[in-house]
Amino acid sequence: MSMLSNRQSTPTGLRKVLYFHWPLAILLVAVCSAGFLMLFSVAGGKFSTWAEPQVMRFGIGFVAMIIIGFTPINVWRNMSIPAYVIGIGLLVFVEYFGATGKGAQRWIDLGFMKLQPSEMMKIALVMIVAMYYDWLDEDRVSKPLWLLPPIVLTALPVALVLNQPDLGTAILLAGGAGVIMLLAGVSLWYFGAAIGAIGGVVWAVIASKGTEFQILKDYQYRRIETFLDPSSDPLGSGYHITQSKIALGSGGFSGRGYMEGTQSRLNFLPEKHTDFIFTTLAEEFGFMGGITLLILYILIIFCCYVTAMQNRNRFAALLTLGVAATFFFYFSVNMLMVMGLAPVVGVPLPLVSYGGSAMLVLLGAFGLVQSAHIHRPR
């Protein structure tokens, strides 16, 4: 009987196209297009350097999103554990066989693209934690013992990622899992305690500097120091933040014009096609360009909230909001970083920065959101 009612309310076959969350898809296309535009610009007007591969990955990612979206959400719920296990396996694999870039072991070279297991893990973690709280009895949510599984599930990939070392991804992983725990209803006291504990860890990190128990790498300390006072080392590690703020600010209200950004064109910007691409956007399109992108991002988050609130499937709702939260962490950490409000931790601007893994994983994640939307109980 339930099968029958399901069939009445849930679209099947190509009819699913009609139930696709099109506003969300269009917003994603808009953001990605902004990315193509900026990648074309920072390459000095060359399409083939960065924009072309990015467009191709977007194409693959967009198709993947549709396929994932058309697949029933329960299938994905059942995929949570395998995805997590595979993710952990790959993280362990890169630990030993991964290619090293910028001092961090991050990817597996698949030939046609470089796979970053840590990107995959962001979604796999959200899935498994969402599944856990979907499964867990309501009255056990805030029981300390039942808090342990999600914490262990989170701590494992976080530890592996920190070991790479990749502080940015670690923050995003912990943030994504934490948000689902919050939404699932874990007592706010725990969060208070967690924030206190993080404060303690930060203190320990700073206090351990220079001792033999030093927790972070030297370069990470330098980044924190330069974040606190970029002018202390304007040609060393403070260079990135200083130049990035100059680029952002020099755009003014309406920008210097497309392809007219001197900071990026003359290579003053570090990582101009990846983590710092937002600075070029703000330099060339100004405050208006920056705020427009921010509004697009917020609208994407908003779409996720709306569909999640309408969804009576707890896994689907938690997953949707988890993906939205991860997406929010992505762009907010990146923007805080390039605007000099957070240390440089190496988080790309989602869907805009050059990079295959993040693009595919994010579009895949929004495919899950689409799946949750299409297959929501009616």
Partner: protein, 626 residues
């Protein structure tokens, strides 16, 4: 999902959304703060980032002689530069280059060090001042010399070379030492191997000659590589100078003094124009332009004849008997001497129990003022010096330009020394002795003067005017003024008495310079001088004074001569000193005679045409004969 779960999820989602919206607000606020509030400030920083200002070196001002011939000019010269990143193996490329252009192993090491200090794409100067043949060879072998590029620049050149080296001086690459001692903030000085004046007029008028740097604004990328040129401001060339030196007379003097360590100055007695300022031996200023080699420098520096010193203004000598005119004029002015009074010269004078000898052992017998000058009798001037006193001698000497620093655009111009009692007390911590005055009376002892000062003195005696030496005729195409030609505070009759004595020196059969009289009826008035550089002891005197020729060179007497001609209508004053040359009449007077003869033969003393554009502005100077 249960009802309560859904409610809780909604509440929590609202909380999270609120926090996220707040954070998004922070992001928007920050964008506004950076882009709108501080936008202008950051725009400026971005411009500073991308725009570099590159200096355009100006063309150095040219230096001309009296006749308008160039003494210092800029010649197009080739420089070879090398870019490290383009030369795969810089050391090997330099080795190959050394077969084509003059390049020592030491220079190669310098270049390699310089290249390693700078970024890989920065061109480093390998060699400067190269000839076209070198460039042709390098160009022909270009495929074997990656990263090597010839560049056209300006190099200073001194076409007349050594004869004007002490006056014009030379330029050389700016050194760390130069930068340390100067407070000049001109950014041109920071250009590697930029040429600045190191000696002579080149050094003394350095800033006007240098000109003003032009600027070129260029856009650079983050590592400083030039992307394109934006705009700029042309450089302003340095000012051109014309000296008062007459080239032929200068060359005559230099040629005549060859082989001696000596100095000669010829001055126009009417306006102070220095027509010749010759110091021998000399050197080739062109060797300094691109940095002198250690061996050359050592050879010049260790030479006993001191070729690098401009002895005309830097050399100080006891004027010896050439000082006697000063004493005579002082005595006449004070009224303690007249032209008729005879002083008996027995060959020496006893002062406070010490014997002061006349150069002539047997003495001159009775001599009056004119004879005393003619024969250069020492005893007469011992007597006069004692009558006048040191203070009045010094006063008269200063009126004649001695003991005063000549105002000339030359480095290390010396003041000389005209002593006073006060001076001796302060410097030597000793009282003034009467013997010191006697010594000063014959231009010995503490009295010191430069050849230029002696020429000035002679010009003043000849003209009766306050002649000041003048070396610069035109500065930046404008005439520089003739200074102080007002009459001296001496009676014409007194001056005439001194002049008569000087006339006899060259024209009386028994005058000390009679053998060096002029040809063709021209008459010179002069005075010889021989100044001791050693103290003759009593024992030595009794043994018989060693002849000059038997002494080592550096202990022989200095030979001096001052004079002017023609006697009845003076035009040129001259002073000559031959260091350790022996007697003035034997060593200095013949040189002076030849130079003076040449000056008279050349006759006209006007300025030649200038090769500069604004010739029309130039008017003849007052006092210049045409």
């Amino acid at each position: 999902m249960s009802k309560s779960q859904k409610t809780r999820l909604g509440r929590r989602a609202l909380l999270l959304g609120g926090v996220q919206l707040g954070l998004a607000g922070v992001l928007g606020w920050r964008m506004h703060q950076l882009g709108v509030k501080q936008g202008d400030q950051f725009r400026l920083l971005a411009e500073e980032n991308r725009i570099n200002i590159r200096l355009q070196p100006p063309a150095r001002g040219l230096i001309y002689d009296r006749n308008g011939n160039a003494l210092a000019l800029n010649r197009q010269a080739y420089t070879i530069e090398m870019v490290r990143e383009q030369a795969n193996d810089p050391a090997a490329v330099l080795q190959r280059l050394a077969q084509l252009i003059p390049l020592s192993p030491a220079q190669i090491d310098d270049v390699l060090n310089e290249m390693n200090r700078r970024r890989a794409f920065v061109p480093v100067t390998v060699a400067t001042g190269l000839e076209w043949e070198h460039i042709a060879a390098v160009s022909a072998n270009a495929p074997a010399l990656p990263g090597v590029t010839p560049r056209l620049g300006l190099n200073r050149q001194y076409p007349v070379g050594a004869d004007f080296a002490h006056i014009v001086g030379y330029v050389g690459p700016v050194s760390d030492y130069d930068l340390k001692k100067t407070d000049d903030k001109d950014p041109l000085l920071l250009i590697p191997r930029f040429q600045i004046g190191k000696n002579g007029v080149e050094a003394k008028i350095e800033k006007p000659l240098r000109g003003k740097a032009g600027l070129k604004r260029i856009e650079v990328n983050s590592v400083g590589r030039v992307m394109r040129e934006l705009d700029g401001q042309a450089s302003a060339p340095g000012v051109n100078l014309q000296l008062t030196i007459g080239p032929e007379l200068q060359r005559t003097a230099m040629e005549r003094m060859q082989g001696e360590s000596s100095a000669a100055v010829v001055m126009d007695v009417n306006n102070g124009d220095i027509l010749a300022l010759a110091s021998a031996p000399t050197f080739d200023p062109n060797k300094f332009v691109n940095g002198i080699s250690v061996a050359d420098w050592r050879a010049l520096n260790e030479n006993e004849y001191r070729p690098l010193a401009n002895k005309t203004v830097q050399g100080l000598y006891p004027p010896g008997s050439t000082f006697k005119m000063v004493v005579a004029l002082a005595a006449l002015s004070l009224g303690v001497a007249n032209e008729h009074e005879d002083v008996y010269c027995p060959g020496h004078k006893d002062i406070n129990g010490r014997k002061f000898h006349c150069w002539r052992r047997g003495g001159h017998g009775n001599v009056n003022l004119r004879e005393a000058l003619r024969y250069s009798c020492d005893v007469y001037f011992y007597e006069m010096a004692l009558r006048v006193g040191i203070e009045n001698i010094t006063k008269t000497a200063r009126a004649l330009g001695l003991g005063q620093k000549p105002d000339l655009p030359l480095p290390a111009v010396r003041t000389g020394l005209m002593p006073t009692k006060q001076w001796k007390l302060e410097k030597k911590k000793e009282d003034w002795f009467i013997g010191d005055t006697a010594n000063a009376g014959i231009g010995q002892g503490f009295v010191l003067a430069s050849p230029l000062q002696l020429a000035t003195m002679t010009a003043r005696l000849a003209s009766g005017n306050q002649i000041e030496p003048r070396l610069l005729n035109m500065f930046d195409n404008k005439l520089s003024p003739v200074k102080g030609v007002g009459p001296l505070e001496f009676k014409k009759s007194h001056l005439d008495m001194v002049r008569a004595g000087m006339y006899d020196v060259s024209n009386h059969q028994r005058g000390t310079a009679y053998r060096s009289r002029l040809r063709d009826g021209a008459q010179m008035a002069g005075k010889t001088g021989t100044s001791q550089v050693r103290f003759i002891t009593k024992a030595e005197r009794e043994r018989g004074v060693t002849k000059n020729e038997d002494l080592p060179w550096n202990r022989r007497d200095h030979a001096l001569f001052v004079g002017y001609a023609p006697f009845d209508n003076p035009r040129y004053a001259i002073s000559v000193i031959v260091e350790h040359g022996g007697g003035g009449s034997k060593a200095a007077a013949p040189i002076a005679k030849d130079i003076m003869q040449k000056a008279l033969d050349l006759g006209k003393n006007e300025y030649g045409p200038l090769p500069s554009q604004k010739r029309s502005q130039v008017k003849p100077i007052k006092g210049t004969r045409t």
